[in-house]
């Protein structure tokens, strides 16, 4: 693999990304497309078989980057992998990411006796680390490798189920706080193990903190403090990702979490978010992955242009989807059309933005 393959600019993908994260304009807008399941298709495997071997996931990521030319490698397997570490299961299907099986916490009282798993004891997590190591060898520091953790505040959705978790959060504050402390220890250990294996940044998935799920007051009392404590202990920069959740009501609070990058929703006004975040925290987004299934090349180009026009000037913007994972049903041709549009319209200086 050629680390800088797929980009015709003068910067490597790492230089491009770091420049933008530093709120400067690189050679072009970085494309942090996040295909995951598509690697299975590249290798002609079922999704379940693909994730069975870490070398396959590494190969899938490399082939996808060779094909699309985006600016990162992504070690994400599936969200339920963390519950596998906690003793749960993942239920695979043929046309999408696996769901988490039965909750590992069946009664609130069980939280008192819970112990966080050790990364080194989890075969599933060890596979991710092996994938990370293999990608790091190939990338040679020229392509960002993005690892993934579920936030301590969002993980309970699959530890308990969504409804019980909302009840826990609202009605059992002591048990909630105890679970957060356990999850924080696990999250920090898991993030830093990925960094040690070669991840350059950690994507901290925290949809429950979004204003789609909890109001700002509760976020400030819970998810905000948890993120601030947790991200401070990561040994690499963090992207706080809300998996399509809206953040407009909390955007002014988010820089204080310590996140370097925010994954934002197509339902938010990207231009307004940029105005609030300029010079403080960078943005990643906000293409609609669900709608992407039917995009023509012309639509892909129009969507890319609109996003770049809204948030590209001045740097601090990385183009990607708004959920943190491209749906299985999105044709490769759309992903390649997005990459071509970034190449065409994402070159700095973005003079066309000023003209239009």
């Amino acid at each position: 693999m050629t680390p800088s393959s797929g980009s015709s600019g003068t910067m490597t993908s790492m230089q491009r990304t770091l420049t933008s994260l530093g709120h400067q304009e690189p050679d072009r807008v970085p494309l942090l497309l996040l295909p995951v399941l598509q690697g299975a298709r590249e290798l002609g495997l079922s999704i379940e078989d693909y994730f069975a071997k870490p070398e396959q996931v590494a190969e899938g990521q490399l082939r996808l980057r060779e094909k699309i030319g985006h600016d990162c490698l992504y070690t994400f397997y599936y969200a339920a992998i963390e519950t596998e570490a906690w003793g749960g299961t993942a239920i695979f299907r043929e046309d999408g990411p696996p769901n988490a099986g039965a909750p590992v916490i069946r009664r609130f009282e069980d939280i008192k006796h819970l112990t966080p798993p050790r990364v080194e004891d989890s075969p599933s997590l060890l596979k991710v680390l092996e994938t990370t190591r293999r990608l790091a060898e190939q990338a040679r520091g020229e392509v960002p490798i993005i690892g993934v953790v579920m936030s301590p505040f969002s993980l309970p959705v699959i530890q308990l189920g969504f409804e019980p978790y909302l009840v826990l959060m609202h009605e059992h504050p002591e048990l909630f706080e105890h679970l957060m402390r356990l999850n924080e220890e696990f999250c920090v250990a898991w993030a830093n193990a990925q960094v040690a294996a070669g991840a350059n940044a950690i994507c901290y998935f925290d949809p429950i903190s979004s204003s789609t799920i909890v109001p700002r007051e509760r976020f400030l009392a819970t998810g905000f403090e948890i993120a601030r404590r947790t991200l401070a202990r990561f040994e690499a920069p963090a992207a706080m990702h809300f998996a399509s959740g809206r953040i407009a009501p909390i955007v002014d609070d988010l820089p204080a979490t310590g996140a370097a990058l925010l994954g934002v929703s197509w339902q938010d006004d990207l231009s307004a978010l940029k105005g609030a975040c300029r010079g403080k925290v960078s943005l990643l987004g906000n293409l609609n992955g669900i709608a992407m299934r039917h995009w023509t090349p012309e639509q892909a180009e129009a969507e890319v242009k609109a996003a770049i026009a809204a948030a590209g000037p001045g740097g601090g913007f990385l183009l990607g989807d708004n959920h943190g994972e491209i749906p299985w049903q999105v044709p490769d041709a759309v992903l390649m059309a997005i990459a071509e549009a970034v190449e065409r319209w994402g070159r700095y200086p973005l003079d066309w933005c000023r003209v239009e």
Partner: protein, 246 residues
């Protein structure tokens, strides 16, 4: 029995502001107070408002004039990004519990009860399910809104296509509400609809969930009869499908 909620748990402790404030300003006084109580998760105040209204009208009147408008307004606020899913779920739980107390009903309303106080006067046979997905919250919220508005609804939980078709056929369901979170599950509704057309052609299918909000044409693509972008819309959809006025 559902667990009781703590009164005044402080989720929304400050004065109303912004779009919420505007919404509250335009509502009549009892509904305004109920909306505020629900968004603040203040069960005690919500209960007092319902009991006060009950002293002046029938349980059905209370549901129609107080509970339903408040739930619909909360759904509208969420759709516009002005309140959060946790508020919808927790306020729905409060309403469901209070309505059950108000009506003095058992927890599980069944088809045996239509026509009794609080049940819809022209009750379609309703059912709700999650299709091939393990995220049950959306279904629970819609079910809660329906029950809080006095509708009887069968809850099939999580089902695959075969199981759901069989349930609908056996129970003679007229309106089936299907909740999904993941895109693959949303797309499977196409298969469900095709199967239902064969064995239960009169069943209407209403879909809801994130994929349908992210792609406004998806519900047509999968052959559904209607889509709800928030739980509050379900009551209007039912009224429309059954030929009643909203």
């Amino acid at each position: 029995m559902l667990p009781r909620l703590m009164a005044g748990s402080g989720i929304w402790p400050g004065p109303a502001r912004g779009p919420l404030d505007e919404a509250i300003q335009t509502m009549s006084s009892p509904s305004e107070e109920l909306l505020q109580a629900l968004l603040a998760l203040n069960r005690v105040q919500a209960g007092e408002l319902l009991m006060a209204a009950r002293s002046q009208g029938s349980p059905l009147d209370v549901i129609e004039t107080l509970v339903r408008p408040a739930l619909e307004e909360i759904g509208r606020l969420w759709e516009e990004g002005d309140c959060a899913l946790s508020q919808i779920y927790m306020s729905g739980r409060i309403c469901e519990e209070l309505v059950e107390e108000l009506l003095g009903e058992a927890r599980d309303i069944d088809f045996a009860t239509p026509g009794e106080a609080g049940a819809a006067t022209r009750a379609p046979r309703l059912a709700i399910a999650v299709l091939e997905d393990y995220h049950l919250l959306g279904k629970q919220i819609v079910r809660t809104v329906l029950r809080a508005a006095g509708h009887a609804v069968k809850d099939y939980g999580r089902q695959d296509v075969d199981g759901l078709v069989e349930c609908v056929r056996e129970d003679g369901i007229e309106i089936l509400l299907v909740s999904t979170l993941m895109l693959p599950a949303a797309l499977r509704v196409r298969v469900l609809v095709d199967r239902l057309r064969e064995v239960s052609p009169h069943t209407r299918v209403v879909v809801g969930g994130a994929p349908y909000r992210f792609d406004e044409e998806l519900w047509r693509e999968v052959g559904a009869d209607a889509v709800g972008s928030s739980a509050g819309e379900v009551l209007d959809i039912l009224a429309r499908l059954t030929g009643e006025s909203a």
